[in-house]
Structure formats: C-alpha cells, structure tokens
C-alpha cells in the first residue's frame, strides 16, 4: 500500500548538505495505523512529508498503491499540528473548500452533504458557522480531522496532531480519531507522527522508533497486538501494554532516573 523504499532526505543549507533521514524502509498495509515516534528533530515529520508529497526524497522513492509519489494529492488527507484552518473561513467553509478542491467531479449538493456528514461525525455541526478564533483547540483539531476525512483519502497523515492539546482533550480526540476510523470500516491507512508514547501505543498497530538526528534512521519497529476496540482505562493494566511501554521508554530515553550523585551535588550547592 505505502512503500517507503530506502529513502534519504537531505536539504541544502548555507552550511552545505544536511541529511535529515536516511536508509528508511517501511511497508505499510491498507487499514493499518502506524506511528512514527522519536525525539524532536529526528526527521519524523520529514518522512511524513515525503509520503504527503510536500518534500521529495534525495534518494530512494515512496510508492503509494504502486505509484511513485510525485506531489500532494487528494488520495492523502493531512492533519497538521497547528490545525492550519483558514482563519477567515468558518468551520463549515474550511471543510467545504478542501472538499471542493479535492473532489472536483462531485456536484455541489454532494459536496455540501459530505461536509455535513463529517461535521456531524465530529459533533461540530452546531458550531459550523463559527470561525476558528471562536472555538477551542480541540474543536479546531476536530475540524481539521473532519476535513482530512471528508476528502475520503486512502491515507491519512497526521503530523503531531495532538501535540498542542491538553491531556484531557487529547484523550477524547484519540477516541474521536478511532471512531472516524471505525466509521470508515477501518479501511483508511493512518500514519501519525508523535512524541507521546502512550498515545502511540493506544492508537497504533505498529510503532516506528527513530534514532536521533541528523541523518536519523529507523531504530526499531514495535508491533502492538493489543485487541481492538481498545479501552483507555483497561489497556493500561494489560501485561503487553506494560511491556511495550517499557521497551519504548528504554529505546527513547537513555536515562530513566536521576543519579543519586546528582541529587547530593544539588543539595551541597
């Protein structure tokens, strides 16, 4: 479905060539939810941008349904970290304009119906006339998710979608996302970039752990076999959850605790 083949992505900077990621190989099946996790600046988003077609790999290629990705397209819906709603359009128009641009063959009524359907799915139909400044961060991100789903893409690309939200809103939006995924018969492939371990485990089938950049590579790919539908409260008590969490923590953090020595130094000072 998505096939990332040995890509390297480098940028030209005044100081010369900067390699963000290299030797990335990843196969993602249809309907799979995959998270890419790693520290800031490890090139997680860069890989996602290569799939979305916003940046081009300097080596290797990205295939989507056996066709090479040559730019952004309506077969991929993107949810950006900072919502990226157009502030001069209301909630409904923000989605309508995207639908109108991405699905030009549909009639106007069909497009309006689609917008209504997805706005109802994320419970924002009553807020459709509001402008982005009038709604909360969580509502903005729900609008952005509805917008990405509304163009009915094969693949959803989420770039740290919940990074700017508080923990409670984040939790409800995880459910919201999985609900949308279920309502579309779990047919949509979701690739998500995150730095939140719990979020990655709760949502994903597989978690791609990155090494630190520059020239970051894939460190390991963790499979998550937790049964679906998942329940936030219950899965944390499952043995497998604990094991995966432990493994991810070890992979991502060199030091999990503060040295006693450091503590005494602090006290003396």
């Amino acid at each position: 479905m998505i096939s990332i083949q040995n890509i390297e992505i480098a940028f030209n900077t005044p100081k010369g060539k900067f390699v963000a990621v290299k030797d990335i190989n990843l196969e993602i099946k249809k309907g799979e939810i995959v998270s890419i996790i790693g520290h800031s600046g490890c090139g997680k988003s860069t890989i996602l941008n290569a799939v979305s077609g916003m940046v081009f790999p300097t080596k290797g290629k990205v295939l989507l349904n056996n066709k090479e990705v040559k730019g952004p397209g309506p077969d991929r819906g993107i949810v950006f970290q900072n919502y990226s709603l157009l502030p001069w359009l209301n909630v409904e128009e923000n989605i309508y304009q995207a639908v109108d641009a991405a699905l030009p063959s549909k009639t106007k009524t069909d497009k309006r119906d689609l917008v209504e359907k997805y706005l109802r799915m994320v419970n924002l139909w009553d807020h459709r006339e509001k402008h982005p400044k009038q709604i909360s961060g969580g509502m903005k991100q729900r609008t952005a998710i509805a917008r990405a789903f509304a163009i009915d893409p094969d693949v959803l690309l989420l770039d740290e979608p919940f990074g700017a939200l508080d923990a409670l809103t984040k939790g409800s939006l995880h459910i919201e996302l999985l609900k949308m995924w279920n309502l579309t018969q779990r047919s949509k492939t979701i690739v998500m970039v995150t730095h939140d371990i719990e979020e990655a485990i709760f949502l994903s089938d597989r978690i791609v752990v990155m090494n630190n950049g520059p020239a970051a590579t894939i460190r390991e790919i963790e499979e998550v076999h937790l049964p679906r539908p998942r329940n936030k409260k219950e899965i944390v008590n499952l043995e497998e959850y604990k094991i995966i969490r432990e493994r991810l923590l070890n992979l991502l953090m060199d030091k999990v605790e503060i040295d006693e020595e450091d503590f005494y130094k602090e006290k003396a000072a």
Partner: protein, 285 residues
C-alpha cells in the same frame, strides 16, 4: 483609558446606587468621551492662544484667530457659488480636488494591487521589478508633473497623473509585503488539498493580504492628499491647492489659514474612513 472607565464607574455607582448596570456603563462611556473631548478642546485652545499671541507680536502680519474665523465662516457659509473661472466657492474647489485625488488614487490602486500581488508571490518578479520600485519611490511626485504635461497636454490630467504615481508605492509595497508574509501553514493547506490557482487566490492569498492592502491604500490616500495641494499650486485652474496659492496672491492669509484647516479636516476624515475599513476587514487569527 481603561483606568478612567473603572474610576468613573465606581464614582458614578455611589451617586446612582440602585440604577442598573447597563445605564451605568453608558453613563461611564459618556463621561469618558466628554473627558476626551475636553482634552481635545484644551489642546486646540492652547494652539489658538499661541496663534493669538504671535499675531499680536507681529502686529497682525499673521491674522488674528478672530479675523480668520470670520473669513472661514464666510467661506463655508456659501461653499458652492460659481462666479466664473477665478472665483468659485470653497466647496467646489474642495470637490474638484477630491475627485482628482480619487481618480488618481483608484487608477494607482488598479495597477499597484496586481503588481504587489505579483512581486509578493513570485521571487522572479520581485528580483525584476523591486529595484525599479526602490529607485522611483523616493522621487517627489511633483517631479513627474512635466512628464504628465507632455503626455496628456493638460494640467488637470497631469495632476491626476502625479496622484496616480504617488498612490502606487505604499499600496504596492504593502500588498507585496502582505503576500510575502503569508504563513506556510496556509500555503500547505492549499497544497495538501490541491486548491486550484483561482481558489488559492480568492480563498487564501487575497483574504490573508486584504488587511495589508487596505493599510497600503490608507497610506496612499494620505500621501495623495498631501501631494494634491502642491500639485494644484503648479497646475492652477481649480482645486484647494490652487485656492491656497490664489489666496496668497490676493494677500489673504486668512483664507490661506482657513484652507489649511479645511485640508487638515478632510485629510483626517479620509484617514478615519480607511482606518474604519481596515478594522472591518481585519480578521482575528
């Protein structure tokens, strides 16, 4: 400002205990407004005072405020009389200036906004055209007057031409700046969802740069209003600038000062109008 409202609120609350909140709010607003007006009047009072002293010192080489205001009153009492080409009411003079300013200004905007969009959106166009803007912008618009005369063979059209040139730069530069500062987030949305060029222009680029464009227009009309007076002094015929020059030739400083006042008030109204428009089109991000 806020502090004064709070103060007046608390003091009025003591006076009118029992009346409702809304009434108090309105009263507080009126009091603040009244205070503001009082300061304005005070400022003008000081100015008129100095003026009076100067005219006394110069033995009325500078006309006194009283003499000036009586002339001013004569002028505004019957603004639309027309006794031939050299004797027209102040309203007619002003009207013809305003028509000229707006003709030049609108022509300028029609060129400046598309050019600004181009220069802001394409680095190629910026490299090509921006140096031209930088060279021509500092030139006093009056320097274009002879060229206008040659091109249009009419002093009146040449005046419109210099207003046109004047209005170009602020609008062009502001538009280009607005377009160039479009956040990449908005661009990415257009890219990700495959917006057509037209949709990108009408739903992303223009709505984003609209407030910048209006700011540019406001600056342009301000400069245009400055330049029209000088332009009409050169062109003669009719107009508020010509009126100032004509009054000077007739040795009526009272009329000159009255005209200055009127020019200032019209300039203020133009600026307020565009500020209002600016606020109207500014969305809150």
């Amino acid at each position: 400002m806020r502090r004064t409202i709070a103060l007046t609120l608390s003091s009025t609350r003591d006076l009118f205990s029992g009346s409702n909140e809304a009434g108090l709010m309105i009263l507080a607003k009126i009091i603040t407004l009244g205070k503001g007006l009082l300061f304005n009047v005070l400022g003008f009072g000081v100015l008129v005072g100095i003026w009076y002293i100067v005219s006394l010192i110069t033995k009325e080489a500078l006309p006194t405020p009283v003499a000036t205001f009586s002339v001013f009153w004569e002028l505004v009492k019957d603004p639309f009389y027309d006794y031939g080409p050299n004797d027209k009411g102040i309203g007619l003079q002003l009207g013809s200036s305003i028509v000229r300013v707006f003709s030049g200004f609108l022509l300028g905007a029609m060129i400046a906004i598309p050019m600004g969009l181009l220069i802001g959106a394409s680095s190629f166009c910026k490299k090509m055209f921006y140096p031209i803007v930088q060279v021509l912008k500092p030139v006093s618009p009056l320097a274009w007057f002879p060229i206008g005369l040659v091109a249009f063979e009419s002093a009146s059209k040449a005046t419109i031409f210099i207003i046109f040139i004047t209005s170009l730069w602020p609008t062009l530069i502001n538009t280009a700046f607005g377009v160039a500062s479009l956040p990449s987030d908005h661009k990415n949305v257009a890219k990700a969802f495959g917006f057509s060029r037209w949709k990108y222009l009408t739903k992303v680029l223009l709505p984003y740069s609209f407030p910048h464009i209006i700011t540019g227009l406001r600056l342009s009309i301000g400069v245009a209003w400055l330049v029209i007076v000088a332009g009409e002094m050169l062109s003669g015929g009719i107009g508020i600038g010509f009126f100032v020059w004509d009054s000077w030739n007739a040795l009526s400083l009272e009329k000159v000062i009255s005209a200055i006042l009127i020019i200032g008030i019209v300039g203020l109204i133009l600026d307020k109008g565009f500020s209002w428009l600016e606020k109207k089109v500014t969305y809150e991000a």
